[in-house]
Symmetry: C2
Subunit: 277 residues, 2 copies
């Protein structure tokens, strides 16, 4: 029962608690446990989000193990596993298929696994909530990995007029541009496109590490261009600090996740239906 | 920081929380999460014990997956996996080797896995704390699985004068009697030995389920014999209720676990050295 002296119920873990592991490498930056566990406790849902540090070479074995646990109700997936995780789901949502990546998997009633991707919808919702609608804008996305692909698809879906996608891996860059271009013909191009963009987004993990190089040089941008970062920790990445110094408006990484929390809850069925005794 | 308005710190799960899964089938009866998480939170140790419902046919895949997770610091093992888990550890403690079963595994600094068994030490410590020393007594153990083997070894180590071990699986019964007999010659025998025992212990899982048959008939016992059960939930099993009705003193399952909590903490290195910021 909610206790009025404890405004925020913290998670209690009992024998029947169900689990949603969040898989990443590194793991120290993941925000999903902190963001979701307080909410789930408040709602009386006996499920906890737990951090799982899985190296790429162990991903298959970790996922097979977690999927074989009866009280695992789903998985959340972060860097660098969003693409490789697709092979562990029989069915992919339209957003996951278009992005070629997933950040959430759930166990279906028949025991099979379904993959979805809320990165793009979360990113765009956060951008709009902060007053930066992509509709009619020219957007550059740097990084065509799992998150970059998802964000690119959602930006086109949200009526960005033109999108450039850049990745150091040329094959990966061409593959995502081809896939997006067949869905939204004439609006997607490979390349950095920095000089002409209204909105430029770092969708690489560069910035997580204190000595990481910059994903791109904000000195190349036109005045007034918005610089957005999907890296959440540190909040003010080196890229965003430099962009601010140069007079650009900036958009932090966190809204992409906070705007996904309700999407995750709906996907996993985490309503308040499982009240504790 | 401890907050004086919250006398018991509940576990907070963040990105760097380390995990100790407890594996069983069924899982609803496990007490380790409830017993240990409050204690760990009080001590400021950023580790949580989580329930993992693993069916026997999935055990190997679940364990391989959990052992491949960087922030899993160890495993706790309960019914029915205490024997099969041994193949997932390179080194077995003396108690685990003697019992042929383990209830705790930890990751060693070199990345290998070590198995230990605290069931026997915990059971005997609980028995003694409740005023029932096995020293010089005749004891009957029903069930030669993981817990029964561990309890049997610890009772002999605690100077029980004579021990009988019974199991429906004759091969399993003979194997444990031979192993214990070679360590404590002349004090161990196969068979139920109910009529002569001072202490009779149910070390089978019978009693977990509401419709389970009795592990043995307490009507066969001599007056005054102590009836102990390792089943923890329900606390008062059908066996213990019937034994009480017949006038026998009884010993519940919970002390075996509660007296293991500090043994687990020492084994996993869960002292208060990891204070949260």
């Amino acid at each position: 029962m909610p206790n009025s002296t404890h405004p925020l119920r913290r998670p209690e873990i009992g024998a029947e608690t169900r689990l949603i592991p969040v898989l990443g490498d590194p793991i120290a930056q993941v925000r999903a446990p902190a963001l979701m566990n307080g909410l789930l406790a408040e709602r009386g849902v006996d499920t906890v989000v737990i951090p799982v540090h899985a190296r790429a070479e162990n991903l298959d074995s970790v996922v097979r193990g977690l999927q074989a646990i009866e009280n695992v109700r789903g998985l959340l997936i972060t860097v660098p596993h969003k693409i490789d995780i697709l092979r562990h789901a029989a069915v992919h949502s339209p957003a996951a298929a278009l992005a070629g990546s997933a950040n959430a998997l759930r166990r279906e009633p028949d025991g099979s696994w379904h993959a979805a991707n809320f990165d793009g919808a979360g990113f765009v919702a956060g951008l709009v909530a902060h007053g930066f609608s992509p509709a009619g804008r020219q957007v550059a996305v740097i990084g065509a990995g799992g998150a970059g692909s998802a964000v690119s698809a959602a930006l086109l879906d949200a009526e960005a007029s033109r999108l450039t996608v850049y990745d150091r891996d040329g094959d990966r860059m061409i593959a995502i541009v081809d896939r997006l271009g067949s869905r939204w013909p004439g609006r997607v191009e490979a390349g950095a496109g920095l000089g002409a963009a209204d909105i430029v987004i770092n969708a690489t993990p560069l910035g997580l590490g204190p000595t990481d190089e910059l994903p791109f040089d904000p000195a190349c941008l036109r005045p007034g261009a918005l610089v957005a970062d999907i890296v959440m920790r540190p909040r003010r990445t080196r890229l965003l600090r430099l962009a601010e110094t140069l007079g650009h408006p900036v958009h932090y990484g966190e809204p992409m996740l906070t705007h996904q929390v309700e999407l995750y809850c709906a996907y996993f069925g985490l309503a308040a239906e499982e009240l504790r005794a």
